[in-house]
Symmetry: C2
Subunit: 429 residues, 2 copies
Amino acid sequence: MSPATPATPHKSWVPSANRADSHFPIQNLPFGVFTTAASADPRVGVAIGDEILDLSVLDTRGLLKVPAGLFAQRTLNPFMAAGRDVWRSVRSQLTQLLSDDNATLRDDVALRQTALVPQSQATMHLPVDIPGYTDFYSSREHATNVGALFRDPKNALMPNWLEIPIGYNGRASSVIVSGTPVRRPNGQIKKPDQERPVFSPCLRLDIELETGFFVGVPSGLGDPIACQDAEAHIFGMVLLNDWSARDLQAWEYVPLGPFNAKGFATTISPWVVTMDALEPFRCAQPPQDPVPLSYLQHEGHHAFDLHLEAAIRPANQSTATTLSRTNFKFMYWTMAQQLAHHTVSGTNTRVGDLMGSGTISGATPDSLGSLLEMTAGGKTPITLNGGETRTFIEDGDELILTGWCQGDGYRVGFGTCTGTILPAHPIKK
Amino acid sequence: MSPATPATPHKSWVPSANRADSHFPIQNLPFGVFTTAASADPRVGVAIGDEILDLSVLDTRGLLKVPAGLFAQRTLNPFMAAGRDVWRSVRSQLTQLLSDDNATLRDDVALRQTALVPQSQATMHLPVDIPGYTDFYSSREHATNVGALFRDPKNALMPNWLEIPIGYNGRASSVIVSGTPVRRPNGQIKKPDQERPVFSPCLRLDIELETGFFVGVPSGLGDPIACQDAEAHIFGMVLLNDWSARDLQAWEYVPLGPFNAKGFATTISPWVVTMDALEPFRCAQPPQDPVPLSYLQHEGHHAFDLHLEAAIRPANQSTATTLSRTNFKFMYWTMAQQLAHHTVSGTNTRVGDLMGSGTISGATPDSLGSLLEMTAGGKTPITLNGGETRTFIEDGDELILTGWCQGDGYRVGFGTCTGTILPAHPIKK
């Protein structure tokens, strides 16, 4: 356990934070941006149990020792740009203020009423202004499954895959926060039996169950980040759904990669879980064979034991069906290796850059991160609770990602990352 | 000729603007951001002959009827966000102020000394804060040439190429302004006779001669831009050099497209030439067969007769050798089609988004837009003035792009887009 993660206190004076199944105990303290009906000014908060602690209020009252101007903001970028020492100092101060033996907030009813907002009464916003979005492809199981479906089962894994943390630049403008509806895209679909493509609503709309991390400490043009130092550049992690139009993708992606098939929306969870909160769940990544080139080598453990789930809830149903249970620790390439590779040719990074993990699939049929894989390319429908079946996503379906690290009697959770599908725009003939 | 482009006056009281070979006559008036030794505050200027007209000075003096706060800025984004009517109003007002029959500035020596800055005394900056950078691949000749070299000469053009304006998301963070040195990237190179890749400086460093356009009028998530309306979203154009590490590219690009091979640097020219300045040079695009799907159809002429050149100057030489003479009008897919395709699946655009044309190659050997094509994949060296040869770029080489539209006795020019190659960082063993 790192020095930044205090072993005690384990309890908060916020009762809901002490439930064993809460995603937001005092051990977590993820950062987000919210508004309320009472105040439309976006500001930075920390999730604690079922509440949000409004850091702009604490700052105004002089209860936080921090540089000025970090929390009455519409994004986390100013706080992220303040650097790792400030992140850790704020985390430490919040741990103190929220611990059950600290009276400052606990016993000040008036201040608590101003500084604590029920999550049910808050609107969460995209937490970060994202200057660049990169998506990797770092699950060996996913790359193998997709390679077999899109290309050749005998040579599913490309020759470069075991040498390079393969990634591509995604579209930053369409990264949206959990809860934002997603309109089914229109685009070109080419059927094998037709000479020309048709312009059509996507017929094979899919999820990709991913995580993402935010760069908090940037790097300059021409200044690669060393693999061993890379994690210190990371502010925190979110859940990420890389919505994918498989039929558009299959036709468009050669030779320059996915474009419209992915660019219409990418949903992230609203709470950014810090690396300090994740530190107790560090674990060994899978063995890498061949041993990576030296610029991709790092000592120690760089995976995190983060349980992940994807679920679907049709419009006419009240309960969701779990589609997949997987784990971030299965990823072949680590976040540190992704960042080292991204910058090794000189690419710079900026505060708020988002890096997606790539779809996180495990080795078993119940641990796959996309419907494409779960249904064998749409050939094997899934039966949901209540009897409906799905190959791909239908209009009105809500897709729900969740994830948490399981501690001893507590969870460091990510909440949920959701999106409901709206029908495509009608096509003019 | 559009109403927005006045046929008269043709002359400015700035003498250097009236030279037939000036890139910046009164007909052009491109926008840029500059600083001087006397003032380190970045501000918006317009190139006129060998001078820059400082719009922040004009604005302070009350000589421009414009919304407040557009020109004392470090980027053009506030001006771009003000909308097309403001762009056109400012262009019209500047045309008046700079015309040889207008005394306001011409006869006010003190004001002229403040408002006019010699370009030789100014430092140009990246003119736009670029939230997204997309690079297309819209030259049929280039796509055919590269397809033959990277893949299969018999099926050089991919099946999707004649249906889709193929593009990919590039890395916005590393877009730099002309004159910024470019460090040779290190990366993975896989030689055919070796089992594993090596980590090495790029040995096949190349240019791509392109133009780019900036989105000035944004579009919302889920709101496609109609092809017929797309040009109205474009603020203006620049020259663009999409530096490319061919050996890194060949190994990394399957299946998700180019990444580190392109992400280390993209250079643009500092002056953004407006669509109104380009309007007189509108011409027919090449015929498209098959007729594109309806969302890619537009009436009228959507190409521009823009002459382009690439040149190289080795470190030890005072003069450059022209490598290529080509023309933007050769492009198969138009800017309007690129923008319509980019947004048709619902992707939003933002003020300042940069869209690269893709390498602009013509049909003849002297009109190719990359060294890869000029040297047949490095097999046929080029002999430069002075006798040196090149297959790809060597350390110390300066690469120079230029371009202009030829009017009757004047040029609407883009100036130059240059970069000199620094040696790669030494590789630690």
